[in-house]
């Protein structure tokens, strides 16, 4: 059961992830990405990371990708015309990717803990949101502040960069 769920989610996640790259229409790419993220969120849930999974949907599928879609539509990007295929670039890129996949398989294959089954969590421990909250505010308060500054900078930046007329 667990395995089946994993396979479904993982397959579709990777499948739609690949579609992002393969599809010519930017909107299709973006929608594939959304689907990929949704399945990824599903995988998070199979890993008992509900909070992360939901945040994934909320932030990525709900906000980031809408922004993408919005921009694609705003710029009125049509399907990519078949530009001259650069064989060299594709071969080079393909070689890099193949090498990367090989490396990952190699690394995972040689990792001692890779065969380990998922440990069972103790029951009745309550919400993982609360625990993440505790860790966040007790241990990682400072990075949280830094992220706050980061968001401020991003906001200022976006206003500066996208406002029609600066005032």
């Amino acid at each position: 059961m667990q395995l089946a769920i994993f396979w479904i989610f993982a397959f579709f996640m990777v499948f739609f992830g690949a579609l992002v790259v393969l599809l010519r229409n930017p909107v299709s790419s973006a929608m594939s990405l959304v689907l990929s993220f949704l399945f990824l969120a599903g995988l998070f849930m199979t890993l008992d990371a509900f909070f992360i999974g939901i945040i994934q949907v909320l932030v990525y599928a709900g906000a980031v990708m809408v922004l993408f879609l919005f921009i694609i539509m705003l710029l009125d990007l049509k399907s990519e015309k078949q530009r001259k295929l650069k064989v060299g670039a594709w071969l080079g890129g393909g070689a890099v990717l193949a090498g990367f996949v090989y490396t990952i398989l190699h690394v995972v294959g040689r990792m001692p803990g890779a065969e380990q089954a998922m440990p069972v969590l103790p029951g009745g421990v309550g919400s993982d949101v609360a625990r993440i909250g505790w860790v966040l505010f007790e241990r990682y308060n400072m990075p949280l502040q830094v992220v706050g500054v980061l968001l401020l900078v991003a906001t200022v930046g976006v206003v500066i960069l996208s406002r029609k007329e600066l005032k």
């Binding site: 990792m111 991003a154 500066i160 600066l166 005032k167």
Partner: protein, 485 residues
Amino acid sequence: MNPILLETILVCVGFLLLLAEAFAGGVRKSVFGYGAMVGVFGVFVLTFWIDAAAMNSEAAYSVYYSADDLAVFFKRFVLLATFCVLLMAVEFAPVLQKYLPSSAGGAGLGEFYCLPLFACAGMMWLVSATDFIMIFVSLELVTVSFYVMVAYMRKNALSLEAGVKYLILGALSTGVLVYGIAWIFGILGTTNLVGISQAVAVLPPEKSVGVLFGLGLVLISLGFKVAAVPFQFWVPDVYQGAPTPVTAYLSVASKAVGFVVLMRVMDAFFVAPYYGDRLLSTVAFLAGMTMLLGNLAAIPQTNFKRLLAYSSVAHAGYLLMALASVASGGAGYAIAFYLVVYLIMTMLAFAVTIVVSKSLGGDNISDFNGLSKRNPWLALAMAIGVLSLAGLPFTAGFFGKFFVFVSALDAGLYWLVGIGAFSVACGFYYYLKVLRAMYWLPLSIGESENTRCSISLPLGALLVVLVVLTLALGVFPSPVFALMP
């Protein structure tokens, strides 16, 4: 004083300036630039009062925030760099203004003065970070600030292109970094550098493949940040396109903190020779390629900022060489000193570029033609700057190279030193091109010797200080060592 207050104060200054900028209508925008400078300088002064003991060792942040000597030194470094950049930014304002879509005078400048403050705070956090989470977060703060600053001149296609390129490459390196950290965390079970070094020491060898994989990815990402070949290809475009003060900032401060992170990360893995050896050889290899390519590619450049970009790659190569020779013990000093002198001379070069490009409207090397006839002193300052970059004795740059090569030779990296010698000769070649333009070549047709570049008082003062520092440190470098960790 608790060291963590430094960044807090800086961020608060930035925040207040932003608010003031938003609500104060008629104030001249340069006021905010000077305000930011005052803030930076104030924090710089405060660094001499901090007391690492004031940090609560029980507090959670003590795990991932360290106020050791290295951190404090580079905090000061970053603050000074920010100060110079802000000064240059105020000077650069008219050029910037030209490329901003604004009706009212000075619109959008206030933010330009505030963003360096946040970037600076990010870098200060970064040099203190001893945990991958903190490293990641503050690195991103810096990077995002730079995205904005690089693309700031948004009516200028060059700046935007630079912004996009920096964005793509920056985000790529972020992705790689995160994936690498994930692997390191996965095998070692911690993101804390101290914890990592403890875990690495007792790690059974059959588990090391994953760590090595992650470490490699982290190295690649940091290679992007410090512009090491083959991850340097974004550098020339971004440097050329970005507003000049931002280029200076990017090439000095961002690179410096990249090296600090690299040092800290490498430090954590040195406990295990398995990683130490591989790391060192990798870094040495990178250093060789970086020096070679940076210098060779700089030779045919005709744009000064682009030239400085490649030269900055080359300097990254020298720094990497020092990093690869940590076995010699003095490498840390060499890196720190090199970065300090690099700060001074690069700022000098960029400050002059700003003056020239503001008056003559371009930053090609040909715009420097005949500068010695126009502004002899400006030309002299530039000459001293580029000669220092080339590493001529009696300039600070020479000491920088000297220490680097001493440590490299000490560590026995002879082949690397050989490449280094070749690179230095190349370096002479292209730096002399600037000298040639300023001293040999006549003015461009239709220009008279009387059209001088005007230099504002603050920038002139900055130039004088930088020249004096370049020369003084070229003769008497010990004050810097006194400040060093």
